[in-house]
Symmetry: C2
Subunit: 373 residues, 2 copies
């Protein structure tokens, strides 16, 4: 144990809002999260004293960071697999492993593996050029194999001569979806799993704007199927830590869209809305602690992301005043970021007995902070 | 505003567990709590990067600390009133004021003022020596006017020749109490008040060991009276921030025991058990933000303090494993302190529908960490 209190030290590579909120959870567990951050004013670097400045693409920085930690994990999926393998070979406990994380880093590997496992996915194919795309059939969703998130790296292609980025790509059928769902599961090295209720994620322009927990009117059969799928994937891919499975609900059932192996925007509702937050759960999982209770803390929970609004006019502090006066029970989470239009600067959560009411309150609160009205 | 995010900066004098947990709440509000801490390994200093080392008894240190903050408040009651007045005269926003805080610092002033306000208190008198004490009548509870907490500075006197410390003292009648209660209220400079449900506090050897929220089987009439009393005191004493009112429930009604003007052990249950935690509420109050919803998040909430157990044998990390396996829904809060027998090193909270069950789970969890069984 590297801490005076006799409790282990967790290090997180990356200093974004996920590390920031993980630090909040770590405090309760008697820790102070160690963070490898690129900038001194990254979200997490602002709130934890145990920040080391360095790049996740610098193996020496990773190695030096890991020396101070009992276990190392990630705020994002951008650490090269070779570096993770190198650290692991040197005896660093680092989760998830490079072999597992590959399926959150590489969409082609993920699609390939899920297809082999018989997990429902959209019809898909690797594509090397326009001929492949034409053979696949249009319209198609074209995705960069690596590096996409929040709608980036995803293109709707309707004409075969549309220009595409010169990187590895896959094509997927355009799924006729009813809505998007997500389910999170935690898995420890011991092999314990704990799955959260299935949620509905509402996207706008490729960005998640709302999460509703539990997913309203989801047939029990589909909910159980989604949870079992998440557990199966966590086991088969040997995930340690959190796995978020993003799903499409279609007329024919559910299909897997994306995977993430870390705390995820679709789980921010758990901070107040579940007995164990996803951030505490991720720490418990990578520490090989027994996992926490994933039950809902209220019948209905709605989370809305807060985007930066127009600059000028009412300041963010005054907007927060108005929001708090209007919605004294909505919980606000700011990420310490400077406001830029459209930038994700925080989220809000409303709990209650009625989903329509919670959703309206969360949306109104997010709107207040963005637009000051 | 002193922060880049456009949100104000709160400074807290004192680096104990209250500042530690206030930092957790501050993160959500877009802040990083600034802490004036005596030691680099104080509970809060371990978890916030904005720690300044210095003594609360050093006016120059207080002045320099306050310069970086939009508003300053306290983790404890030990800052001299003259220093608070000096800072305030220099334009520092510091809450509660010296005039209010006096009533949490000086038991004679508190008893005098409450008596004038007609608030029910035990029969009491200042005492200057054995003759006064004999005149007051024995047995009596003798208290040091300043500096007592957690049972320190309180003496049960049964014989007039019992030796007493050579400091200012008051005597109080020994109240024939049914149990102890507490109620917390927040008040902002604007004058808004928000009161929490009345709780039962269970003491052992003068130290609070359990808090039950809401206080079981408390007649509605007494609950309302206690809440109204807390609101009255917050207004009359011009408190800004949190006020905790500790009460005795007797056959004849409630009487006030002690006051505290900060987040308080009797309010730790609010982190998960109320819609707004006492730590967020204290920040909102001193920032003059609209106050948060104080409603219970579950029908029954039980908090148990965790004391350090015998040194040697099973380590704290292994004890935590056992606890988490046995009680996956109990929330653990460690304060980052080294374990010493009898030292308050954390607390645990259990939520549910049934108080007896919550209480048993919290007590079992605290016992696990203390004794490893």
């Amino acid at each position: 144990m590297r801490s005076r209190s006799g409790l282990p030290v967790v290090g997180m590579i990356g200093g974004g809002q996920l590390a920031r909120m993980t630090h909040q959870a770590a405090i309760g567990l008697g820790q102070s999260l160690h963070v490898l951050s690129e900038q001194a004013d990254d979200s997490a670097a602002l709130v934890t004293p145990e920040t080391r400045l360095g790049s996740h693409l610098d193996l020496a920085a990773l190695r030096s960071f890991a020396k101070e930690c009992d276990v190392v994990t990630f705020d994002h999926e951008h650490v090269p697999g070779d570096y993770i393998r190198a650290l692991s070979a040197e005896g660093v406990k680092i989760f998830p492993s490079a072999e597992a994380l590959l399926y959150a880093q590489d969409k082609r590997a993920m699609r390939q593996r899920l297809s082999e496992l018989g997990v429902p996915v959209p019809r898909w194919s690797p594509i090397a050029g326009p001929a492949d795309l034409a053979a696949f059939g249009l319209p198609a969703v074209v995705k960069t194999v690596r590096g996409g998130y929040d709608g980036r790296g995803v293109f709707m292609v309707t004409e075969a001569d549309m220009s595409l980025p010169d990187v590895e790509l896959i094509a997927e059928e355009r799924v006729n979806l009813r809505r998007e769902l997500a389910v999170q599961v935690a898995r420890s090295p011991f092999g314990q799993v704990a799955v959260y209720p299935v949620v509905e994620t509402v996207q706008r322009d490729g960005i998640c704007v709302e999460v509703l927990a539990p997913a309203p009117n989801l047939p029990q059969r589909l909910a159980v199927q989604a949870q079992q799928l998440a557990i199966q994937l966590a086991k088969e891919l040997d995930v340690v830590g959190l796995l978020a499975v993003e799903l499409f609900e279609t007329d024919d059932g559910i299909v897997v869209n994306e995977l993430a192996m870390r705390p995820h925007n679709s789980g921010h509702w758990t901070i107040e809305g579940a007995r164990t937050s996803q951030f505490e759960q991720h720490l418990r999982a990578v520490l090989d602690y027994p996992l926490g209770d994933t039950r809902l803390a209220a019948p209905a929970v709605a989370m809305a992301n807060v985007l930066g609004g127009p600059v000028g006019g009412m300041g963010i502090d005054e907007r927060l005043h108005h929001l708090m006066a209007a919605e004294p029970a909505v919980k606000v989470h700011f990420y310490g970021k400077q406001v830029r239009p459209g930038r994700k600067i925080g989220h809000v959560t409303a709990l209650g007995d009625d989903m329509a009411d919670c959703r309206a309150r969360a949306a109104r609160a997010a709107h207040w902070i963005q637009f000051g009205e």
